[in-house]
């Protein structure tokens, strides 16, 4: 999430743009980017401004920079609800849909889009408020109930989330995304059997062409045979996705499948250190040092557990226990670790 100051300057820039104050807008975007150089929304806004001023050469560079920044953001897991698979800052969306919902009142879409952007920015409370406004327009709309459930889940109000997911699934029993969401909430509460059953059902519903989503769902329930095969298919479709390679190696190791030598990606950024660990080219300390966020630490701990399992199950148990204690339940590694701990008798 960008620093608040950056976002405020970005918003000021948009307001200046709308007023026709190009210089003022440029200054605000510059300030936003000083505070947060990776704020792609500000970069592209600046590009459009420059382009409109006839400075196309400069603008072109900025357009490309914004696209590069977006493409470097990791996409979310494909087995989750559509909104979690996106890349972006969503600063533009928050600002735009705020404007829409104040002008196009009593409609669902502006509230939903605004809520989704806020949820992705890590502000589930604001998202919840927006979804509840949408529900006042169309009470009991299953799509919005499901999103409200996601917001509650993000706020760790799992019981309430499950109640909503149950209502949605009573109306739409084949809603694979809500099954995924309920599985996560169940797993957060330690209800492994219920969680695994939701993901089993989700796997049944996902078509074969959605191989990455199938693979992730299988990984959550620690069904490594299915995961190994499905990640192979996903990798064939997206050969440059390092996570599919990493997870395929993980699933393969856990089922004892023969694996090809690991070719490390040229890009050193995350999750390359995890692949390096698996290739024997990085130490535990190096991997943990490279894990700059709590979610990355969870990913690192999971891989350390996988590597340790055969020779030192107690160490594996230790790594995975930390994931369950501190990790976000929405992570694939959280569910997989919890399932593995049960297998280890922990």
């Amino acid at each position: 999430m960008p620093p608040e100051g950056a976002e405020q300057h970005y918003r000021n820039g948009l307001l200046s743009m709308r007023r026709g104050d190009a210089d003022g807008a440029l200054q605000e975007f510059d300030k936003a980017l000083v505070r947060h150089p990776g704020l792609a929304d500000a970069v592209v806004a600046r590009a459009e401004l420059l382009d409109g001023l006839g400075r196309w050469q400069e603008a072109q560079h900025e357009y490309e920079r914004a696209r590069r920044l977006w493409s470097e953001m990791p996409p979310g897991p494909p087995d989750r609800r559509y909104l979690f698979r996106r890349r972006g800052d969503f600063a533009f969306e928050i600002e735009s849909y705020e404007l829409v919902r104040s002008n196009v009142r009593n409609k669902v879409l502006p509230q939903l889009a605004y809520g989704n952007a806020q949820l992705l920015r890590g502000r589930p409370k604001e998202a919840l408020d927006s979804y509840e406004r949408a529900l006042r327009v169309k009470p009991n709309l299953p799509e919005v109930l499901a999103l409200k459930g996601e917001a509650l889940s993000a706020m760790r109000r799992y019981d309430e989330a499950i109640e909503l997911f149950n209502r949605v699934l009573a109306i739409q029993p084949v809603d694979a995304e809500t099954l995924s969401a309920r599985g996560i909430a169940h797993m957060a509460l330690g209800k492994l059997a219920e969680a695994n059953e939701d993901w089993r059902r989700q796997l049944e519903l996902l078509p074969p062409m959605q191989s990455a989503a199938r693979a992730c769902a299988a990984m959550r329930r620690a069904n490594y045979d299915v995961a190994f095969h499905a990640f192979g298919l996903a990798l064939a479709k997206e050969p440059r996705n390092p996570y599919w390679l990493l997870y395929r190696l993980t699933a393969g190791r856990l089922i004892g499948a023969p694996l090809d030598p690991i070719v490390l990606p040229a890009e050193p950024h995350w999750p390359t250190p995890l692949l390096a660990l698996r290739a024997g080219q990085a130490t535990e300390q190096q991997v943990l040092a490279a894990a700059e966020s709590s979610n990355r630490r969870v990913e690192a701990l999971f891989q350390l557990g996988v590597v340790a399992l055969a020779g030192n199950p107690a160490a594996a148990r230790g790594y995975w226990s930390e994931i369950v204690e501190r990790g976000a339940p929405s992570l694939i590694e959280f569910a997989a670790a919890r399932n593995e701990l049960v297998r280890l008798g922990a």
Partner: protein
């Protein structure tokens, strides 16, 4: 790299439709550079006896446009189940989904636009394929710029797309054309339907366009709303490509009735959209189980089929011209020139589906022989249904099915009734005062009786799966005694005598005369 999806119908959507469409097709092809690129045109609900819209203007298209274009023909009978639910004759969501389902799976991108758009890469060295090829996954729009109607009408050369794009680059500056019109999100720009680029995979995931939108308008906004939810962002390609629209507001479009325009509900389809998906059509969007004819302009064209058909059955003329006459004293003379007539008969059928089953009730054996050869050589696979009541006709011809009229009636998709003289020979002069022989009269009476009965019972004898009326073609029914008989029952135009042929759908004449005629025909009085 990408499939462009367009739709339309061979009708009169403004007086200059043909010109702007040709300009657009050629310009779109011009910015394609990947061998997998394609223009998918869904020709929706054009009458069966008309060519598709691109076929109608093929001579104005460049070789490149013809090469990359695939035409999917949705027949009136395939639209019939929706006819009572909409005032429109061409449906956008259905059309675009039919194309999406059948698009090249190797293409990563789908580009939705319309047949009056020109896309101009800002970098002249780049094609649209280059641009899309380097683009990250996403959902992209560009603003639409307007070209004043007189400019494109007067200055564009349909077959010079590169020249037209160059002119646009110049006009954009000289005439201040480039005005970006922003819109509320998720419709980033006004007139967004003229450029929406989405991943093919995304379009399949969200189940295509919403096919419940059958009243026109807002299909593009609905798609934007759903893709914006699905992707989270709506990205711009304004730095890469400008989109220009051939303004055509002198004559309002067919679905534009000013303030009285009927349209899809904005609240339902835009502002209250709550999901990217349309689960109700998850298995059915784009009509995956419906056989949709695909036509090409660069191979196996209607012209090629037509000429192949005729070449199989008639020899080139050996004289500079032949003669006939429509003078009234010859009203009873039913001789006609078969080699001259067959091209006009084939012209009536060549646009129909190749699987068409056609009933042919005739008097002249040489007509049946000649037409049967042409039918096969034109690539038709459906049978020729010849009633056994028609005597004196060969029964051993390939593709001919002989059975009783009553048995064949519910199997026919199309009818030909030929009113000639079974005794006419190939060498005798035409319309020279020939008198009918008794056997001619007998056989003509049979054909006339079958014709009338077929016409008045058309609806009740229609094949079970068919929803639209069947067409009747009359051969040798102009300026002779069967002219009135044919047009009493079939709503045919006034055609020149020289064409020898009339065609149309059964008349629904509710006058007393019409009722009497139908009663007599039904009971063969």
């Amino acid at each position: 790299m990408f499939s462009v999806i367009l739709y339309g119908r061979n009708d009169s959507h403004g007086y200059n439709l043909h010109k702007r469409a040709a300009i657009s097709f050629n310009a779109l092809a011009e910015v394609m550079s990947d061998p997998d690129d394609e223009i998918l045109f869904v020709d929706y609900n054009t009458p069966d006896d008309h060519p598709t819209f691109p076929e109608a203007i093929h001579d104005t298209l460049t070789d490149k446009a013809k090469k990359v274009m695939r035409i999917f023909r949705v027949r009136p009978d395939q639209h019939a189940h929706l006819r009572s639910k909409t005032h429109l004759v061409a449906l956008e969501a259905q059309s675009r989904n039919v194309a999406l389902r059948r698009s090249n799976p190797r293409n990563r991108w789908i580009l939705y636009t319309n047949t009056d758009m020109l896309l101009v890469p800002r970098n002249e060295q780049e094609s649209l394929s280059d641009i899309l090829g380097r683009l990250a996954d996403g959902f992209y729009q560009v603003p639409r710029f307007e070209i004043p109607e007189m400019l494109w009408e007067a200055a564009f050369d349909r077959r010079d797309p590169a020249g037209n794009l160059a002119k646009l680059r110049d006009w954009a500056v000289r005439f201040h054309l480039n005005q970006v019109v922003h819109n509320y999100m998720p419709m980033k720009y006004d007139a967004l339907g003229d450029f929406q680029a989405a991943l093919r995979e995304d379009m399949f995931a969200i189940h295509g366009f919403d096919e419940s939108m059958i009243l026109g308008w807002h299909c593009d906004s609905n798609l934007a709303a759903r893709l914006a939810l699905y992707r989270g962002r709506v990205d711009t390609l304004i730095d890469k490509v400008f989109g220009y629209h051939c303004d055509h507001t002198r004559v309002a479009a067919a679905n534009n009735k000013g303030r009285a325009t009927r349209m899809n509900d904005q609240d339902q389809f835009i502002w209250n959209v709550a999901s990217p998906y349309v689960p109700a059509q998850a298995e059915t969007w784009g009509w995956p189980d419906v056989g949709i004819e695909e036509l090409r302009l660069d191979r196996d064209t209607s012209y090629e089929r037509f000429t192949a058909g005729l070449a199989s059955t008639i020899e080139p003329s050996t004289v500079p011209f032949t003669t006939t006459s429509l003078e009234w004293q010859l009203f009873e003379d039913l001789t006609y020139d078969l080699p001259h007539t067959l091209p006009f008969v084939c012209d009536q059928v060549v646009t129909f589906p190749r699987t068409t089953a056609i009933m042919l009730a005739a008097t002249r054996a040489d007509f049946l022989e000649g037409f049967a050869k042409a039918w096969k050589a034109m690539g038709f696979t459906g049978p020729l249904l010849v009633p056994t009541e028609c005597e004196g006709l060969p029964s051993d011809l390939e593709g001919v099915v002989r059975a009783s009229f009553e048995e064949l009636l519910p199997r026919a998709d199309l009818f030909i009734f030929e009113f000639g003289l079974s005794t006419q020979t190939a060498s005798e002069p035409v319309r020279a005062g020939r008198v009918m022989a008794p056997i001619d009269k007998k056989r003509l009476k049979v054909v006339e009786r079958l014709f009338k009965r077929a016409a008045v019972t058309e609806e009740e004898t229609r094949p079970a799966a068919r929803r639209v009326p069947r067409r009747f073609i009359g051969v040798n029914v102009i300026y002779n005694k069967f002219w009135t008989a044919f047009t009493d029952y079939v709503g045919a135009n006034i055609n020149p005598f020289c064409s020898q042929v009339l065609a149309g759908l059964p008349r629904q004449d509710e006058s007393m005369k019409g009722k009497v005629l139908r009663f007599r025909a039904r009971h063969a009085l």
